[in-house]
Symmetry: C2
Amino acid sequence: MRRARTFEDVLAQIERRIVEDGLTPGDRLPGERHLAEQLQVSRSSVREALRVLETLGVVSSQAGRGPDAGAILTARPDSTLTDLLRLHLGLSSLSMREVVQTRMMIEQWSAARAAASRTEESLERLRADLAAMDAAESVAEFVRHDASFHLGIAELAGNRLIAATMRALRAAVEGYAIEAVTRLGDTAGLMADHRRIYEAIAAGDGDAAVAAVTGHLTRTYPDAT
Amino acid sequence: MRRARTFEDVLAQIERRIVEDGLTPGDRLPGERHLAEQLQVSRSSVREALRVLETLGVVSSQAGRGPDAGAILTARPDSTLTDLLRLHLGLSSLSMREVVQTRMMIEQWSAARAAASRTEESLERLRADLAAMDAAESVAEFVRHDASFHLGIAELAGNRLIAATMRALRAAVEGYAIEAVTRLGDTAGLMADHRRIYEAIAAGDGDAAVAAVTGHLTRTYPDAT
DNA sequence: GTGGTTCATGTGGTCTGACCACAGTATGGT
DNA sequence: ACCATACTGTGGTCAGACCACATGAACCAC
């Protein structure tokens, strides 16, 4: 058994405090110096613990926020997941195939859910993205609205964990996406796919939505299944 | 635009180094003092960067490993994801419902994949877990093999990202699982579910496997869908 | 020669104390 | 009443020190 490092103790104490005091995003932690004194450790250890919490998207710090200020509790797991994917892809401990496959799973699930629980205003957002893609004048702009469209479907399903994962996955394949669109040359095929997905969701046809999403992703990332 | 903090620069430099030098798990980074000198920053900044990488499961440090030693590159995203879920559940920025729902998505997908690509040795592992559950003499032991069974299905699908996510999700509901088993009193119903899942996978019947998994999770976590 | 012991070296982990740039607040003058 | 100024405490960074530990080389006994 390895002895716990000091900053890990600090981590546990802060977590305990969050749970016991029922702190939620927007609340504040004491300043670094205060925490250090309360826990009888050095500021370095406190800072390392805060850095971990920041990495996990639980806390956010910025310099010089005046008295009675400290790290603010947040709920931003997005960049954690994005960084996680990017680094492990770089380390080759994860393959692009696995990432695309995971995205396939999420998008199929989301499309089915979205078809079942669609509302007029959520459909409106998807239509807006479609229109923006049609009007896009550059690959980058097209891809941006493309991402927004796919994310919209995931958010429509109403699960923050899945939506956050989807955002990270999407960011991880960003480079691939731009390359894929450029390679295909024209976007007519992609737009036809998108419209098919939208129509299926709007019609509340879950099976058709899943099929449309599956076809779309298979065509866009042919080398991963 | 907020100015980048020093340790974020260090982070970027280390990441660049990993990608450019094609480093993989098992390789080593220079020692903290060397990195500090190479990048012309203080050791504290290097340490904060390493702490971030450690949190993301990319690096692992331990004290006193002799000369020419530094942090070892790893590929352990599990605890990152587990911590992420636990903290955000504690912060109420994620609900147990969303976690269980995500698990439902992954297990359905995994079961379908597992049914399609089963092998005799992978089935053997599942059978071993089933037998261990039958022989379990305590709730804790039962739940442990229960977890192993479900994880086995996810790993069978052959996607490290999904398997890692599954491990984290499973760990997050650990407390719930023990409570659920205790509440149900006997495990006969659960075991019947497990056998039904196993049989469907062994028979290569994807649809039946999905149905069996869906029924099992719905029964185990009735208050989340 | 061989096997075990000691010891110097360098590591990660921690601490102290200092300085900086910045945001909020109070203070002062107009 | 208003605006500029100084003050205060913050997070961010740095330099330098010490500790416990793991490693490997030098050493000694046999």
